[in-house]
Symmetry: C2
Subunit: 454 residues, 2 copies
């Protein structure tokens, strides 16, 4: 390390204070080399189907393979680069064309650059003075999205995911129902109750617990055979809750449920909400609901328009500028390019559905209306069996066993789950824009290959 000579050093309590403590050139070189490694081992390999999706190791094995320990003295750069190589090697390649495990997948070059920019610039989006560009970008993206919905006005922020957004929605509805709750809290109030579909995201219960509403006050409305909330059931439950002295305040409808990809009938639900004065979750944002007016951050005597200091809108204050990566992609593809991506994902979903219907041993859970395709694989040994309890008991074991095999082989990653009385089934959601018909064929071929001896 290039430390200043002790001769001219200024010492306070034995610590040298002049000059930098780190070797800047070596640090820069390390970043350059790591970037090259990331480029070669992650970005360039992301689209290569000959690479493994994952190199499965159990937690115990992986702990042996990785050098996780943090020691008293630091490690040299070449050792750190080797650690980076190991981290990449044993990480799941969520960018791989055959990673279908989650509701995210694929490598978007423009978003990735947006994220690299963000990490290098290290901003936090709460005041205009520290994040001028990123605040304007977020404003532009939110404005464009509001126009798209067709609203005349609106506001919003980018949140760290859907769970947090659902918490906001619930909190806003509560504020709308009774603004005093912000100051007074819920104690002494009647039991607030909200309604959502039995197919809703599990964050609804987390949110109700966190917000002090209570998980028992999340009322799950029965759905039809296609996973859509039944408006008549909703109305019945609202009336029942009122009769019991509870205070209905919110209906959380879902457009595209997590497992089945179902869409609740919004028009009919909105009618029920109108009749009973309930807030329908629309993800709008009211600043005064969160505002805590921190004087050290949101000085009103600043020399510019302080309406751009948006930190008081969010629960976390410091935020990554997540709108920026979306803006980069939108800029690069244009609205038409984004539309093309959606169209292709939906067309690929329809192709996969047709293939599932055509092929022996594949059974659709239901006709999908969106990009979620839920299906069972029935191995040859079970194909002649009657579809009774014993059959389903056996089918239930198929998806976990195939999943274990695919993870150990590393050829594919696809999620499975049981769901409301249906035994374990696979769920494919087409998201990755780099995915093609060939990947859909591979998906079904590979499941058959892995499971045909079961």
């Amino acid at each position: 390390m290039a430390l200043p000579s002790k001769k001219n050093a200024i010492l306070v309590d034995g610590v040298v204070l002049n000059g930098p403590t780190t070797d800047i050139r070596a640090g820069e070189k390390f970043v350059e080399e790591a970037c090259r490694l990331i480029m070669e081992e992650v970005v360039l390999k992301a689209t290569d189907v000959n690479e493994k999706v994952c190199e499965w190791q159990s937690p115990e094995q992986l702990k042996q393979l990785l050098d996780l320990e943090m020691r008293d003295t630091g490690e040299p750069h070449d050792r750190l680069l080797q650690l980076c190589r190991d981290v990449i090697r044993f990480s799941v390649k969520t960018n791989h064309p055959r990673f279908f495990n989650q509701l995210y997948a694929g490598l978007d070059y423009y978003s990735l650059v947006g994220r690299f920019m963000t990490e290098a610039l290290n901003p936090s989006v709460y005041t205009y003075e520290v994040s001028p560009v990123f605040l304007l970008v977020e404003e532009a993206v939110v404005k464009k999205m509001i126009e798209f919905i067709g609203w005349q006005e609106g506001d919003g922020i980018f949140n760290p995911g859907g769970s947090v957004s659902n918490m906001y929605a619930m909190n806003l509805a509560r504020y709308k129902y009774c603004p005093d709750i912000k100051e007074k809290g819920l104690s002494g109030l009647p039991r607030l109750i909200l309604f959502t579909s039995a197919e809703c995201h599990y964050s609804m219960k987390k949110s109700a617990s966190f917000l002090g509403i209570g998980t028992e006050n999340v009322c799950f409305v029965e759905t039809d055979g296609r996973g859509k909330m039944i408006p008549e059931e909703l109305e019945k439950q609202v009336l029942q809750a009122r009769k019991e002295g509870a205070a209905p305040f919110l209906v959380c409808a879902t457009s595209g449920t997590t497992v089945l990809g179902s869409f609740d009938p919004l028009e009919e639900i909105a009618d029920v909400c109108d009749r009973h004065g309930l807030w329908l979750h629309v993800d709008d944002l009211l600043k005064k609901c969160y505002s805590a007016e921190a004087s050290y951050l949101f000085q009103q005597d600043k020399f510019y328009d302080v309406s751009y200091d948006t930190g008081d809108k969010s629960i976390q204050c410091s935020r990554r500028p997540d709108a920026f990566k979306f803006w980069m992609t939108w800029k690069a593809l244009g609205t038409l390019g984004l539309e093309e991506r959606v169209n292709r994902a939906l067309a690929l979903s329809r192709y996969l559905v047709d293939e599932i219907k055509k092929r022996d041993g594949f059974k659709l859970l239901m006709e999908p209306e969106y990009a979620n395709i839920c299906f069972w694989y029935i191995p040859p040994s079970l194909r002649e069996m009657e579809e009774g309890p014993e059959f389903w008991e056996k089918v239930n074991l198929v998806a976990p066993a195939i999943k274990e095999r695919m993870m150990k082989k590393g050829s594919l990653m696809l999620g499975y789950q049981p769901h409301r009385g249906k035994v374990n089934f696979f769920r494919q959601v087409v998201i990755n824009p780099q995915v093609s018909r060939e990947d859909m064929d591979f998906l079904l071929d590979e499941i058959d290959l892995l499971g045909r001896d079961m």
Copy 2:
């Protein structure tokens, strides 16, 4: 774009399904060029004091200078690179050695590489199967930190910031007080009340509002002249709250307040908590408090140890592996290297305090006990004035005026605020490990240069 020929194309609803839709080589080249740009314009310039900290533009001007609009058709790569250049140019250089505006600063090469890795691999930390490496890294870091504190056992997760951590703390204390609140909610319960110092972070009020406790039920305990909670005042207020029929459940003590950097007397506060059966905030985490048991994510029939599926511990489910960048830095510097950084920051703080005392026109708010140094600049025109109401009224205008000048010059960024009866003062917090004595001298020189004619 290299699209497959229409001849062999498989069409569904007019959409071509075979082959990729994007030109992969062009995308990769774009990422490479953007990385070079980021390296040159952000990383290499981050340590150069001759660069501006910011190039100030008002929101209106900046909107003119940036091409924010998202159009129907995409933009070519050279245009996107120019946009990236503009974004960098007009962003605040939070990595600059003279960025002192916030509680983060500086460029850590190892954290940055950790963040680049994270963004490229795009994991989400909730199940072992999608995030094997990052879950083990988080476990290792949390374990090491618990050892450091000296605990025998414990658990934890990395949160998106202090505000969210405070919300967790409050929720955990509430769960400890009455586990039923998770299911039943707060309605019908006595008024829950919590105690924190008058100097606490503003997220306390946000948290109380969000959690349904109510901002009026955050009881601010008076502090002494150095910003520390007075334990006798705390006890008095607890007794008073009980008398009024409220239910005290939590004391949130602060070690290093946001503005003054004060430390509450933990031992004495713990004694008060013991006497009255109150939870003292220690940032521990109880999994069962959040658990919602989402069957589609946390299948219990997986083929590996599902205790590594930690998604149910957090409120947001999908999380960035924030422990990873800290792990990278710890690996690179070692425990001793981290210790050296802390020692140097504190020594630099003491140096700055001594300089403030030595120099004309600088006035310390109070003797700091940590790395927060709060001070006023008194321009020559006010130095002979009596320290009465008129004096302070005039001093109050000095920091905002100097701030405007430094932003427009771009030489420095330093925060100011009024605080509990004290008029606007500057707050310097030494964080950046690249900062040296020369930067401390520059800070005071520059403030004097910018403000001496006021």
